[in-house]
Amino acid sequence: MDRVDRCYLKPGGQLTEEGRSRWEAVPEELKLDFYRWMVQVRSFDRRSVILQRQGRIGTYAPLEGQEAAQVGSALALSKEDWIFPSYREHGVAMIAGMPLMRILLYWMGRVEGNVPPEGVRVLPPYVPIATQLPQAMGAAWASKLKRERSVSVAYFGDGATSEGDFHEALNFAGVFQLPVIFFCQNNHYAISVPFSRQSAVPTVAERACAYNIRGIRVDGNDVLAVHSAMEEAVTRARKGDGATLIEAVTYRKGSHTTADDATRYRDPSEVEDWVREKDPISRMEALLKAEGLLSEEDVKKWEEQCKALVDRAVKEAEAAPAPSADHLFAHVFEELPPELNRQRAELSGEGGECV
């Protein structure tokens, strides 16, 4: 692991000294939640990869290995906060209240998968890299102008830091002291391109100083450290102290998407190291067991519950009635102009003059 500003829970499951005091301060329910959510996220993720192989969903972006970064950060947010995710934040979305079934619908190519239930402030996955950053900044700006306490969070990867949008968003955030958090999961690769080809400085976090915002680099596989960094950033933002750039150093165990083959560009020994040595779940499991908060039986039970949850979501998603083609037109404008009405009629086979 490269040097980080914060690591509480070592890969073997031991707490550092700082980590110990943080741990003591965390309510027991949250300790268990860290673990339970990570397992649920992984359970969902592994299942999705299989669903793709079976041709039951389209190209899918797996997150295995990044559970701590997503769970730790998402658990520090509240309902009023806005989340602007990339395409890999299924873990974040779940925690924010996005039903698993809708996440699956998204990967089935269905627009319903973009729409969270009432009151859940998660935007659809941002596929064009880094475009969510200016928008999260703008949403945060609105909160500030309206004197509301919500913060906005943009999730993105290490590759996104090369885009102009990254710069413009962080720059506005610094200039206007906005309550926004830029949460980067540095998983070392943008598809095949290693971070060393993305940036001439070794860390994402140090870029914060170009914008006079706070930057912090945290062990992204340490859910406790991630959570504490995020909590600090949220507090800062709510207090009016402005933006934070968090770099969570992590690794995707698998390929970029199910359409990618990571063995083409990653060294097996590097992968091995991350997969075997630095897994985010096993270290938390070890800690909880050592602390007597978790038994092997709890583990089994929870894993089964997760499997059941995911099973149900898959069933629901697959049972969802085929989308009506009318979805194409339903929300293009609040009111359809005549030409579009004609096209709609054409589609539905009710004629329509325009072919």
Binding site: F84, G138, K146, A169, N171, H331, V332
Partner: protein, 325 residues
């Protein structure tokens, strides 16, 4: 009511919106203390303060991206792009997000915002300040595009755009910002998006124009009438959605159409208009539709601008051609 120029109509529209809707903010480069490089926002910063009329850093993607985020979070932003030629850094935010967010979220986030930009040539501005690329936005489903040609429409369309729940690109004909004055209604007043304005009744040819080209079309119509050709002139105002009914009704009456725009011809909005006229009024056409447009060359520097932009002479020739086909 009072006599105003087009740019004063815009200024009035912004002032009215800021006064009557607390969710409106105006943001962009030099829109604050300076009052805008064309004075469109003159006096607003003084009146509404730094949180409603906001000078931003020089970054168009940042400006439009921020506006989208603000719209998502319940505000009604009006972003200024200083010249249409500088809208391209924001292109991705506009076409990928603003235009599609309503559909993508099935109505949850309509991206209700306005992007204002002065367009076209005619002011001896430096190079690359004179683009008319409305067709790029018209071709992007989910956007509305409007372009007023009178002070009163300028105000009324702007207020419609601001109230409109859909994202609207509001194009300002800078050449005629101060060309003439007109009575402009006070207070909140709307000109509906999607409706063309019949500038002049005629029987023989329909001239279709918008923005800066409307006065040129009017002049051409006046002169044509002296030669015994009666032109109907339509000011589209709304480039998307189009007022098909007005267009088709007029063309069915006259049987001939000349379309005039400043943008290059190839795949310009004139192509869509010509295609639709043929689709919807094929049997009524006495001659093919003619397009008088900018040439398919990069917008030149100003010394050659008058050769690039549709001239009255070229319109006259087109009218002659459709009359003598």
């Amino acid at each position: 009511m009072s006599e105003k120029t087009l740019i004063q109509g815009i200024n009035e529209g912004l002032r009215t919106a800021l006064k009557e809707r607390s969710d409106v903010v105006v943001l962009g480069e030099d829109v604050g203390k300076n009052g805008g490089v064309f004075r469109a926002t003159e006096g607003l910063w003084e009146e509404f303060g730094d949180e409603r009329v906001i000078d931003t850093p020089l970054a168009e993607a940042g400006i439009v991206g921020a506006a989208i985020g603000m719209a998502i979070n319940g505000m009604r932003p009006v972003a200024e792009i200083q010249f249409m030629g500088f809208i391209y850094p924001a292109f991705e935010q506009i076409v990928t997000h603003a235009a599609r967010l309503r559909t993508r979220t099935q109505g949850q986030h309509p991206a209700s915002l306005v992007v204002r930009a002065p367009y076209g040539g005619g002011i001896r501005a430096p190079e690359l300040h004179s683009d008319s690329t409305e067709a790029l936005f018209v071709h992007t489903p989910g956007l509305k595009v409007v372009a007023p040609s009178t002070p009163s429409d300028a105000k009324g369309l702007l207020l419609s755009a601001i109230r409109d729940p859909d994202p609207v690109i509001y194009l300002e004909p800078m050449k005629i910002y101060r060309a003439f004055r007109q009575e402009v209604p006070e207070g909140w007043f709307e000109v509906p998006i999607g409706k063309a304005r019949k500038v002049r009744e005629g029987e023989d040819v329909t001239l279709i124009a918008w923005g800066t080209m409307v006065p040129v079309a009017e002049r051409a119509a006046r002169e044509a009438s002296e030669r015994g050709v009666s032109c109907e002139v339509l000011d589209l105002r709304s480039l998307c959605p189009l007022d098909e009914e007005a267009i088709v009704t007029s063309v069915k009456k006259t049987g001939r159409a000349v379309i005039i725009h400043e943008a290059p011809k190839n795949a310009g909005l004139g192509a869509e208009l010509a295609a639709r006229i043929h689709e919807l009024a094929f049997l009524w056409m006495e001659s093919p539709v003619k397009r008088v447009t900018g040439f398919d060359v990069p917008v030149p520097m100003f010394a050659l601008e008058d050769d690039f932009r549709p001239s009255q002479k070229r319109i006259d020739r087109a009218i002659h051609k459709v009359m003598t086909f």
